[in-house]
Amino acid sequence: MNWDVVVENLRLYAQGAGLTIWLTLLSLSAAFLLALPLAFLRNSRSRFLRRSVIAYTTVFRGTPLLVQLFLVYFGLAQFELLRGSFLWPWLSSPLVCALLVFVLNSGAYTTEIFAGGLRTIPKGEIEAAQAYGFTPLRAALRIFIPGMLSRSLPLYGNEMIMLMHATSLASTVTLMEITGVARNITLNYYIQLEPYVAAALIYLALTAILVAAVQLAERRFANFLRLDH
């Protein structure tokens, strides 16, 4: 066995894990901010707004993340106009492309999760807010958003894990997160077993931490929704 190769490269793995966590947290925060207004528009009374959001979520949830990533990272270079523009230094960077795609992709899933959460808020709570004369902003901040978030927590927790795993695709556009590090070590040392097993163990540990955090949040913020207490 060649476990010493893994031990020798622990620093690289730590850097890889750092990039994975950074990619995950940054994409999650941006996707959250994107999904918050879109979830309201998804349930809007205006048919045009509703349909536009549905079109966005359908396209991003209906195609593989890998296709989206390649479309942006390799595909955009096809357009002369874009290559000459001031945006190109950003759009040709694998990090920016990966982040952009993760945010748009996760934003689509999160929008649908939050929109579903909004639909399950009891009518009574909304009527109570109206009866108290809440302004729409106040109702959103006090009733809709907290109700939506607590009700979407289990599904949103799942989405967080899915996104963390999805960041492994960043290795296909040369980014050195956990999977990229493992891939590089297999190529440099001609060993196929230990580097990938080590990567899998790191992901497993990160997932376990995330699952525990979500459960803690559920107990703290969504306990009132549980039937069995």
Partner: protein, 229 residues
């Protein structure tokens, strides 16, 4: 030239769909067995299945595929070498891909089937037992029809995720839609066009599946209400 390249991409759709369908069958059969395992009164069996689903769902699909495609044969060959045998194992990529996807999605199917099994009304099973029906007959006549109806939403979701996950096999050299799109993109220098065609294929596949399974769900609901099952 465009038509020829577009055609090679779409023609590879048969491989993508065959891979997905094969994996679906494996995932469903294995997933149902795992669901029974998870509901088992035997503690060790329950724990074993729990551990299995946690590990599979805790590691990104891409890393699991790399493990099966590269690490597993390496481990087997190391072992064979150690025993002094001249045998050399290599997995055929198509079957390895189908097997990996099937095993990954069996963990997701397990969760879907488990909650469906728990939601089958107790009285129906008790009535069947009281009538002295053979356990096998109870399974085919009572459990399975109920399971099909209750598990259909989760099953649909798993299938949609599975179709998109097949795109990952292109990274391992299998000539699916995504692999051909990459080939066309590199040959013509028009990556956006050809990745867009690949994206269109996946979008069409997921949309058709969604509508077909929705129609099936409606049908199952109707037959159930008519009391024919």
């Amino acid at each position: 030239m465009f038509a020829a390249f577009a055609w090679t991409i779409l023609a590879a759709g048969s491989l993508t769909l065959l891979l997905a369908l094969g994996a679906l069958v494996l995932a469903s059969v294995l997933g149902l067995a795992l669901a029974y395992g998870k509901l088992s009164r035997r503690r060790w069996l329950m724990r074993l299945v729990q551990g299995f689903t946690f590990v599979i769902r805790g590691i990104p699909d891409l890393v699991l595929m790399l493990l099966v495609f590269y690490s597993l044969p390496a481990a087997i060959n190391q072992f064979l070498e150690w025993t002094g045998s001249d045998l050399w194992v290599e997995f055929p990529p198509f079957w390895a891909g189908m097997f990996t996807l099937g095993v990954i999605f069996s963990a997701y199917m397990c969760e879907t089937f488990k909650s469906a099994l728990q939601n089958i009304p107790r009285g129906q099973l008790e009535a069947a037992q009281a009538f002295g029906l053979h356990p096998r007959r109870i399974f085919w006549r009572i459990t399975l029809p109920q399971l099909a109806r209750l598990a259909l939403p989760g099953f649909t979701n798993n299938w949609l995720v599975l179709v998109k996950a097949t795109a990952l096999v292109s990274l391992l050299g299998l000539q699916d839609v995504m692999f051909r799109a990459k080939g066309a993109a590199e040959a013509t220098g028009q990556p956006f066009t050809y990745y867009l065609i690949a994206g269109g294929f996946y979008l069409a596949a997921t949309l058709v599946s969604t509508f077909a399974l929705l129609a099936l769900a409606r049908r199952l609901e109707q037959t159930n209400q008519a009391g024919r099952t």
